[in-house]
């Protein structure tokens, strides 16, 4: 499917999504509440069939926290990007997608570890790299660590 058609198709599947300007992949901003149902419909639909989540990353944009989903269809070969934003820095919660793409299980644990975004309904929401009793989330821009990070 060519990018323009794909954009239209995705927008009909997820009417709440907003399109974002991007160079490489068509990018959509999905409201956090709609993420799970949107993900299911993107995967289940025959002509989109996004069955491969090839990257899931968390980003701290300072104003808000963001989770970025890079999706590819192994059947059609097209790819899109979903972004989910949350402005709550104290207790951010986003629905998990690890029941849809199992690879998300580890990626979500990593995002929780590094950015403190919790994923609702995740089967094993623990830190993955750092200690259980580590204080703070290192990839946040306001993370301070005088001992280990040398500010130049």
């Amino acid at each position: 499917m060519d990018p323009e058609k794909l954009k239209e198709r995705v927008l009909t599947l997820i009417p709440e999504a907003g399109l974002e300007e991007s160079k490489q992949y068509p990018t959509f901003i999905v409201p956090a509440a709609k993420l799970h149902s949107a993900a299911i419909s993107l995967k289940e639909n025959e002509d989109t069939a996004f069955d491969y989540l090839f990257c899931q990353s968390g980003v701290d944009m300072e104003k808000y926290l963001m989770v970025v989903y890079h999706l590819e269809s192994t059947k059609h070969g097209h790819a899109i990007v979903l972004k989910v934003k949350t402005e709550d820095r104290e207790n951010p919660v986003i629905d998990t997608v690890c029941d849809i793409w199992r690879t998300a299980e580890f990626h979500e644990r990593e995002i929780y570890d590094m950015l403190g975004i919790r994923f609702a309904n995740h089967p094993d929401m623990r830190r993955i790299f750092l200690d259980e009793n580590w204080v703070g989330y290192p990839l946040r821009k306001d993370y301070k660590d005088e001992v280990n990070i040398v500010e130049l």
Partner: protein
């Protein structure tokens, strides 16, 4: 901020017990820790504990310039250092819309394939050792040494080369490079037959690996198991074929696919990939064009604001670099999607209800590199 979530440790059923495989254990090839729940010798479930070699490379990237980041990527998956360097270079070149000279593309492709061969050699060596065939280890390392020698001559380093720079190469190839690579291919074509004789054709090895760790194509896609491990399940996931970079759209090579999805299939994919990589190198090595070894680059590299994603096929699978730039000389956020991280996540699923010896075989067949998991 302090909020610790303790998920209850899975209670041990009757006649079950935990063992810790790792962080110091011969079969985890590094500091990976697997908490395995066993019933007798049967693996009931396992939980990987990562992070023993977590160095926060993603955080470090936010403070480093792009040429500096190349040196960090070596350390992610040290066995495909060249390929990781390549990913950063391609990302910067794509963002700045720089066309690199043909010569650079040739050298990079050859180096990448050499990296793939040596990575698979080391994997073969350690996989043989996991299964108790200690001789394999020395055969594999003996042949890998030849590639390291070639690299040492051209790049000055045997292991962590950082030979690529955005726009080209650090310096030109050594005058002996073509001769040495051709000699190596001739040598290794003969030696790879030894590999088949000592391990692939062995009855015990076949019985140990066949129908062990079955992973369907759907599982592979859902868990994001890429690279040779995914292709052993029949998933055509070779980035070199689907999103070609460097010269991969020009050279003629097969994507190795096996549909069995067991440990033996993953083994055979890698064995065939070594041969296929030699084919790729043979097509290129005589035709390296004359020319510059680097494109003209500005002294300070600043990526235009925006988002970039670059995928390459490392020896372990689909390596992705997700970069958000705000126009500065350092990235705003750099995310590495490393293949071993996703490949590890499937280990629990495919090793359940098998013996502990099978767990070692499956772990070996996934070809995990621990720094690639932990970053």
């Amino acid at each position: 901020m302090k909020e610790v979530i303790h998920t209850p440790v899975p209670l041990v059923e009757e006649e079950e017990y935990h063992i810790n495989m790792g962080p110091q254990h011969p079969s985890t090839h590094g500091v990976l820790r697997l908490v395995v729940t066993l019933q007798g010798e049967i693996v009931k479930s396992l939980k990987p504990h990562c992070g023993y070699i977590h160095r926060g490379i993603e955080k470090m990237c936010e403070k480093d310039t792009y040429p500096q980041i190349i040196h960090l990527t070596d350390r992610i998956d040290y066995l495909s250092a060249h390929i990781n360097n390549h990913a950063v270079c391609l990302l910067v070149e794509k963002a700045l819309e720089i066309e690199v000279p043909e010569r650079v593309k040739y050298v990079r492709t050859i180096m990448d394939e050499l990296a793939r061969i040596q990575s698979h050699q080391l994997w073969w060596a350690s996989f043989g050792m996991d299964l108790g065939g200690l001789t394999c280890f020395f055969y594999g390392l003996r042949d890998r040494e030849k590639i390291l020698d070639i690299w040492e001559e051209t790049t000055g380093a045997r292991f962590l080369q950082s030979y690529y720079t955005p726009g080209g190469l650090l310096w030109d190839i050594h005058p002996n490079f073509q001769k040495d690579v051709k000699a190596f291919i001739k040598y290794f074509r003969k030696k790879i037959r030894d590999y088949d004789n000592i391990l692939s054709g062995n009855v015990i090895f076949r019985e140990r690996s066949r129908n062990i760790g079955l992973m369907s194509k759907e599982d592979a896609i859902s868990w994001g198991v890429t690279g040779p491990s995914g292709r052993g399940s029949g998933w055509s996931c070779d980035v070199r074929k689907h999103h070609p970079y460097a010269l991969y759209d020009k050279v003629d090579f097969k994507e190795i696919l096996y549909t069995e999805g067991d440990t033996l299939a993953r083994y055979l994919v890698r064995m065939d990939e070594m041969r296929e990589s030699m084919n790729i190198i043979e097509q290129l090595i005589d035709n390296i064009p004359e020319g510059d070894f680097t494109a003209k680059m500005k002294a300070v590299i600043k990526l235009p604001a925006g988002e970039y994603y670059q995928r390459v096929e490392s020896a372990r699978g689909d390596l992705g670099l997700y970069c958000i730039s705000d126009g500065n000389k350092t990235p705003y956020r750099m995310k590495f999607r490393t293949p071993s991280f996703s490949n590890l996540s499937v280990l629990d699923h495919i090793s359940r209800d098998l013996k502990i010896a099978d767990l070692v075989a499956i772990g070996g067949s996934l070809d995990l590199v621990i720094p690639d998991i932990d970053r």
